[in-house]
Structure formats: C-alpha cells, structure tokens
Symmetry: D2
Subunit: 309 residues, 4 copies
C-alpha cells in the first residue's frame, strides 16, 4: 500500500524550487493579478481520507474545471439527449476555435471546449434566469463539496464579461445555428460566473470525489450520478479534458482530468481517489506547468494510471 | 470473480441473431469478398488463460490494428524521438483526411491515422528494403503471438496497392514536407503489407497481451516493452485508436483499443486481459458494428472499463 | 452605336414571363415581406443619360451593395492604410464564413464579405457615435446620387439587429483580435443601417456612376475619387463582389459588380455606364436570379464586358 | 495614341537598375540554375505589331502560363462540360493547397491552381498516351505562336518529375475521388512537360494574341476560339490567374494575366494587345517581382486597365 502522505510530501519537496515557473494567464485581467508563487495539492481517497500539501487551502479560480460540474448538471436534466446539442469527440483544435463550429453547423465537438460548455450552460438554464442558474450551480457545487463556503468571485466574472469577445463570438455563432435557446448575454452571464467559481484544492477534490467512487460521495453518502454516468464523464475528461493537449496528458499522466486557465487541474483515479492540484503558472499549451508535472509524478509513484501500473 | 466463459457465451448468444449486420468494407476489392456472417471473440487474461467464442480461430485481415505493432517497433527503434515525426493528439477528422497535414506542415497528428502510420512505417524501415521491413514485422508479430502460422495475405496487399490513391496522396504530401525518408512506393509497399496481416482473434489477443501485462507476455515470458511504454501505447489507443470515433468508443466501452476496416477490434483491459473481436460488417463510422457492441457488453459485464466499475 | 433603349426593352420583354422566379431572402424577416414580382433595370451612361425599364423607380433594400459606398468612404479617410485592416483577395468561402478569420487572425479577406465590411465600417466611424456615422453615410449616398430622397429603412435595420447573430459572431471575433476599435454594438448598429439603405435602381446607378467615369460624376460634376481609386474599387468588385460566386459572375457577365441579398445588383462598364438591376427572387448562391440573367444579356448585347467584345 | 515603343523603353530604363531583384525559384532544381539578371518585355498589338525590350528573345520556362493553353485545348474538346471536372472560382489558398480538394470532394476550384490544371490535363489526354498529348500541346502552341521553334525542355520536365511530390499528392487525391481518368503517372508526365514549355516573351505574346483579339490571331488569321470563349478565358485569368495573389494583381495592374514560377507573366489588354514579361526573380508571393512592376507601369502609362483609364 502506497504511503500517500509520503508521496505528496516528496512531490511537494521536489517541486518547491520550481514554484513560480510558467506564466500566469493574462487574458482575463483579474486573473493576471494572482501571485505565481503558489502550489497546492490535495488527494481525497474513496475511503474518505484527505491528504494535502502546500496551498491546498487557498481558494483559486477554477475556470474550465467548472465545465465538469455543469456537464454533470446538464446530464441530470436531459440525460443522453444532451448529445443532440454537443458532440463527444476530441476537437483537434484550440479551446476557443470557431472553425469546427462552422464545419459542423453549430454543434460543438465536446462539452469541454468553450463552445461546448456554452451549449451545456444553455441546457442547464432550461428557461431560468441567469441568477437562478448561477444559484443552482453554486448550490450543487457546495453540495458536492459538502462545504457552504464555496463562492463565486464576481470580479473575475465581470472581468471576463468585459473581455470575453471570443466567447461572445462562439455563442452568437451557435445562436445563428439555433443551438442556443436563451439570449447570448444570459447564457454568457451564467458561463462567466461558473468559470469564476473559487475553490481550494481540497474543496475541489471533495466535490469531484463522486467521479472516483461510482457516482456517490462516500464522505457524505450523497448519490450524485449512476456508476455508468460517472464512467462516461471520466471518459470524456480523458479524451477531451485538455483541449488540444488531451492526448499528451493521457500519454504522460494517464488519468481522466480537466484543467483550468486559473492554474488548477482536477483528476480522477477511478475507484481510488480524487485529485486537485493548483499552481498559477501555465505552460505553453495553457495548463498549469507544475500541476501537470505533479500529476505525472503522482501517477508514476502510485501506479494509478488507468493504462496500467 | 467474473465467470469469463459465461460472459463470453452470453454475449455470443445474444448477438447470434444479429450476425451479418453492418456493411463489409468495399473500398479494398479483396476485402469485399469476405463473408459477413462471421463473429469471433477472444479474451486472454494476464494469467495466460484464453477464452474463445464463435469464429475466434478464423484468420481475418487485421488492417489498421497492425498500426499498434508498427508503433511498438518504431518506439523500440527510435524511442521518444519518434514524436518529432508524428504527433500524439486526436485528429478530430477522418482516418484518411489530408487537411490537418497541410495545416501542420506534414506532421501527422498521431500514429493511428493513416498518415501517421505511414510515417511510422518510414521510421521502422530505417534504410532497409521493403522486403526486409515486411519480414521484420512478420517475425515480430509471430514472436508476440508465439505463433509461426501468422501470415500476410498478398492478394489483399496487392489489392490495396492498386486502389490506395488516398494513401499515395498522403505519402507524397508528407514527402513534399520531407517527413518521409524512403521512396513513397517503398514505404507504401510495407504499409500495405502490414495492413494485410492475417490473424485469428486468438492470435491477435495473444500478440497484444503484453499491453495488458506491464509490457511482457506472461505466456511466453517475453519482455516486449517497459511498463511505462505499455501504458503510453494504451493511452494512445484510447485517445486516438478509432479515428474520429475515439471519443465515442471511450464513452461506450472505456478500454484502450484499435479498430481495423477488416472488422477486427483489439482492446486492452490493463492488468487484466487482452481482447480481440471480429465481425466483418462495419457501422457507419467504419468500425465493426457487432465488434463494438460486443466490447461494450464485455466491459459492462466485467467492470473492466478503465473509467471505473 | 448600340441603341440602349432598344436593348433594355428587349431584355425587359424577354424576362417578363420569368418575373417572380427565385426565392426572396427570408433570413431577415422584414425582407421576406417583399413582393417577388418585381423587376427594374437602370443604365446611366457617362454622358449623363438614364435608361430605365420596369420597376426602376421602386426603392428596395440595397443591402450589401452599400459596402461599395462604405469602402469608398473608408479609402477617403485612411487611404491605402485601410489594407492593414482588411485584405484584397477573394475569400473562396461564403459571405458569412468565419473560418478564414481564424486562420488569418482576425483580418478579413476583402471589404465585400461581411467581416470585411464590418471592419470597414469600424474605420469609417473613426471615433464617432453610430448616429453620426449613419448620418455621414446617408449624406454621402445622397450626394453621390444627387438625390435627397434616399432613405434608410429603420424597420429593416431593426430586423437585422434582432436576428444578425452571425454578424455579431464575426464582429466579436474580430474584436478579440483587436481588429475593431469601437464597441461591437456600435459598429453593427452602423452596419445594419447601411445595409438598410433604400434606393431605386436609378438612384443606385447614379450614385455609382463615378466608378464608370474616372472617379467623377459627370451629371453633377462632383469629383469623388481619383481615376486610379475608381479603377481599384472596380477591380475589387470584379474579384470579390459576389462572395464565392465572383468567378462565375466574371465568367458570365464580365463586369465589376456588387450584389445584395435584397435582390439588387450594381455593375460598372468602365468608361461607358453604371448599371443597377433589381429583382427580389434570389438564385441558389444568393444573388438576384433575374438580375444576373439581365446583366449577362446586357453585357452580351452591348459588348461591354471588360474582357473583350 | 500612346507611343508604345517609348513606353516600353521608359519602363526598361527605369527598371534596369533593379534587374536581378527577387529570388529565383529553387524548388525545381533545374530552374534554380537560371541567371537572375534578365528582363524581357514584349507587347503585340491586335493590329499585329510587336514591341520588344530587353531579353524578349531569350527562351524561358513558362511553367504555369501553359495552363492557359491547356485550358483552351480542353474547352475545345469538351466545351462547357469541362466545368463538371473543375470549378471557376478563386481558391483563396496557395497554388498547391490540398485542403480545398478535400472539402469539395476532389473537384479543384479553378483550372489555374495546380490541382485544376492536372484535371484539365486529364481531360486533354482523352485516352491518348502521354507522348501524344504532349505532342498535341506542342503543335498547338507552335500554331498559336506561328513559330515552329517553340520547344519543351526535357531536363526541366524531368527535374519536376523527380521532385514534384506535392503534385503527385494532388493527382492521387483527385484519383481517389475518381476525378482523374488516366493513370497518375501519365497525367503528371504530360503536366510536367507542359510546364516545361520553353518560349521567348515574343513567342508567348504572339501565342496568346487570340485572347486580345476576339479569339483569332490577326497575324495569322487563325481562328482559335469564339469571341465569347476568349472573354471567358480572360475572366478566369483575372479572377484566378495568380493563385492567392489574384486580387492584388487585379488591384494593381487591372489586366487578365497568368504568372509562372519561371518568372514569366502573360497578360491581355482585351481589344488592344497581348503582353509577355519575364524576369526570373520572384517576389514573396511567387510572381516575377520586376514582371509585376513592369505590368503595373505599362497599364498605368497606357490606360489599358480593364477597370478604366
């Protein structure tokens, strides 16, 4: 049996001299202010134990990691009917590319690229006003994490609203193909708020634990999704979770995961544990530089890769 | 403990009325002659037991499944240097698309689309004549399967040579970007022969068993690759093994796998078993229709999905 | 010397049985209400004579034909510097395609596709409020046509504002590449109003006469642009004036021209005459069906093709 | 009346200090050997007078300019039926791009990009062996130029055959879509020989004079095509004659034309004259640098632009 605490300590110690590497995202002004010299890692096992190192208790903007929670909500609402609105294939292009949308007539390739996540948001809204949809998501994430202190950072949401031209382009484009039911401003209002969810590594690992544990959170006993749906969400994270770097992540880490431009990465070792790592400096494909390294070390030292030990 | 024999029998029995479904590939004239009413399934576990149902002992043209063996050979020759010649990301397009090659200047997206496999073949040739390279591959696959009766069907190879215009286009295109070292005719000569490997389900499952067993074949004791490389090949199969249907396969089956237009699918349950299924009728994305269904049933009934049980 | 009146009469007579052919544009609700059974043709020669047949005195929505006037204004403001903001090459794609914009980083291919015209509008605005820019354009077109009765149809402008998602996508996309200086809403406000210019065939032919007459309107004596600039605008119309049907128009008609989805087509016979034709029914590439036929007949019977008589 | 001799002399004199500018094409080894310090210009008017300056009597490889003669031959054989095999629209991409071919299923955009010219060659062959087709073209060009000394440079043809991977890719790709009737090697054999036509500026201007003179060569009295077809070929040259630089050529020069990578440009002033210019150094879009400048000067000083004087 792996001594998890020792593994996390060794990773933390080895990476300590490198903390601050990478480049903090600057396209959202509010995110650019984050101190790069931070690193946190949290592992929560399916028997309910949490292991933390570094800044695992510092809240950060989870950004695109929120797409996992929104997908879960959307599947809960419309089930497999969701796949009429969005595909399930890797995109082979950048997170914010619009080319594929034109070639495939407004249907985004998967729920984890921006266009796909915007379509998923539209599904989650289901006729409700933005404020209500945001409230629903926040309640859902707090329920998943069993922690009422999870919040949304309004400044970050506002910052994205003011500069998110590319997302406005994607949303209007889909609307022109009638693949958005709600007004573009409303859908993006919700979308920017979900990206602005502020969570610690430990909260994030707990909130996603159901994906490692057959769809239920063993710490709270809450059943979130069926085992089959949990597997499927994991499959989507593995094939599509890192935009055009998904193949590389699978190759090096071997765990289903989802990254965010805030420097967080969430990952799942099915049947074993839920993992969240955070370090704001990004590598050149836009994922947390140390986060990706830490996960590769973790998978190698624990033998948790889904592709063999 | 799952009773594997019972699981295979139940799958065979349930699918029996559907055998013959799908459409046999007709773009290679020689393949079009295959009788659609065939179905075979073989599972070989890491403790060396083989379970077979149906036509598991009938040789078929493994076609693109051979790309897994060629990739293994190429990594053995040049190691991670291979990735200068070919990428590791899902392509988001058809198996024979040339668009991506132009946008990315002659570097194919991954080793499992046609262009990527042609580049891998060029690497394996390493200055040798086509006949020698074909011989090397055949010896390698016989060694992996521990079975000298594996052959290459020359008629199929010839049939593809005469009609494979698209592959000639891909190879010439890469050559124009200097991403082929050998003459196009030579590389495609080898490529068409590897696709024409003729194997039974059981031979195929045995030949690929090393990928389920940390890189070594437990039946022969042969060490083929390191555990790390086995994991990485599995990762590539999961993210890229079914062209633009890879996401769907991961979603429904949840196992690393590689399909061929001859109706075969090879899959790996890491640490557990190696699987080969064959049924010539293809679904509309070009994979064996019953083969995909059988694997989904197998994964569901055994809990072998890498994404959770 | 061609008897122009006789030519126009013969065209009108021959086309009379076909009036009503084609399909009125329906993607802008307000345009869909137009009666299809209308056809007008006006030719104004460089010596100032006007020849009209049919509904040449009925105002219609000139739509994309306005791009010619906006281009003229923009060149007047920033000269050849305009070409930093927009290209001069045919696009090889649909009028509202966004693919090229991503491949060429926010620089539209030419001023006559939607994205290019939106960039041109941004240049014309030059820091002014939408109302002022709209006023400037209206004054300019009235000046060109020497006719104060030219108006903008607010209902059409409003109708487009409410449904023009694709244009909002294009504008936001360009803004994300910093190729728009003004707020998207402002630029599109102006853009939709220019498209809603309502003119008769005769007004339109007069307004564009300067392009046939070395840059000056011989009827008013107004100098609009230099002879060189007139030639260049004509060149752009010939290569780019009909989106992805520009080659076909040059092949069949052989005159620089610009079509609009309202069923109008403006054309120039350099040194000879300015031409406007209108019939609301569109052919399958989105140009006026009878308008294109009428222009082909006119060019054939007059020998006005720029490619030889 | 313009003093043509004076105009040509002035152009020659002004450009003399710049002769040698640009970069000689090096992708065909045999072409790379050409001395850059050459410049020739020939104008032949429809009344049969020839005006030459510089190296107008030095043969050079006309390369893609031959596409105009092959198009003329193909239209003569199959008439408008040709347009089932190739389009008539500008491509919006590089001369050797394959992307469009995949998106439009093997139908090249126009006869002047490589893929389109290869399809045209296939049409011209009409079941004949390569040698016969090459002979037919050579006889046709000699007939057009009224000069039996026109030859094909076999070394250039051979040089291209050995390095033309991209053209082999295009041809195989079209063959996979059944848009080539003859074997790829045969079609490209003819194609490379037509590109290797060796002509002087004066020969070229004479050979193309029919396009300026309503389809007939006024010097020989030979009727080549109808006036309508001459106009249409001119239209195609104007919209598509310079690959993705066609818009720019129309903008600056304003004449139908076709460039070749050997440094030649052929142009037509309809009803007035036929023009050939040659200078081996290419600009960065692959056209003769001084050739384009000379044509711009010629059009400006003569008022021959089709877009107005």
């Amino acid at each position: 049996m792996t001594d998890l605490k020792a593994v996390l300590d060794s990773i933390h110690k080895e990476l300590a001299p490198r903390i601050g590497e990478g480049k903090v995202a600057d396209y959202i002004p509010e995110l650019a202010k984050v101190d790069a010299n931070q690193f946190g890692l949290s592992v929560v096992t399916v028997d309910g134990k949490a292991y933390n190192v570094g800044h695992a208790d510092v809240p950060f903007s989870i950004q695109s990691i929120s797409k996992v929670f929104m997908l879960t909500l959307a599947l809960g609402k419309v089930g497999e009917g969701l796949w009429k609105r969005v595909g399930r294939e890797p995109s082979g292009s950048a997170f914010n590319s619009i080319v594929q949308l034109e070639h495939e007539q407004g249907i985004p390739r998967n729920p984890f690229i921006n266009a796909g996540a915007i379509a998923v948001t539209d599904v989650v809204m289901a006729g409700h006003a933005p404020r209500e949809a945001i409230g629903e998501l926040l309640r859902f994430v707090r329920y998943l994490a069993d922690d009422e202190s999870v919040t949304i950072d309004d400044r970050v949401a506002r910052s994205e609203t003011q500069t998110g031209y590319r997302n406005f382009a994607l949303a209007n484009f889909m609307r022109s193909y009638r693949n958005l039911d709600h007004p573009v401003d409303h859908v993006l209002g919700v979308y920017f708020h979900q990206c602005a969810l502020s969570m610690t590594c430990e909260q994030l690992a707990k909130a996603g634990l159901f994906l490692a544990a057959r769809g239920s959170n063993p710490m709270t006993g809450h059943s979130v999704v069926s085992p089959k749906r949990a597997r499927r969400i994991n499959a989507l994270m593995l094939t599509c979770g890192h935009y055009d770097g998904s193949g590389d992540f699978a190759y090096h880490v071997g765990l289903p995961g989802k990254s965010g431009v805030g420097g967080g990465i969430f990952a799942v070792a099915p049947g074993i544990a839920s993992i969240a790592v955070w370090s704001p400096g990004l590598n050149k494909v836009g994922n947390s530089q140390l986060g990706a390294v830490a996960l590769e070390m973790l998978a190698a030292r624990t033998g948790w890769s889904v592709f063999g030990d």
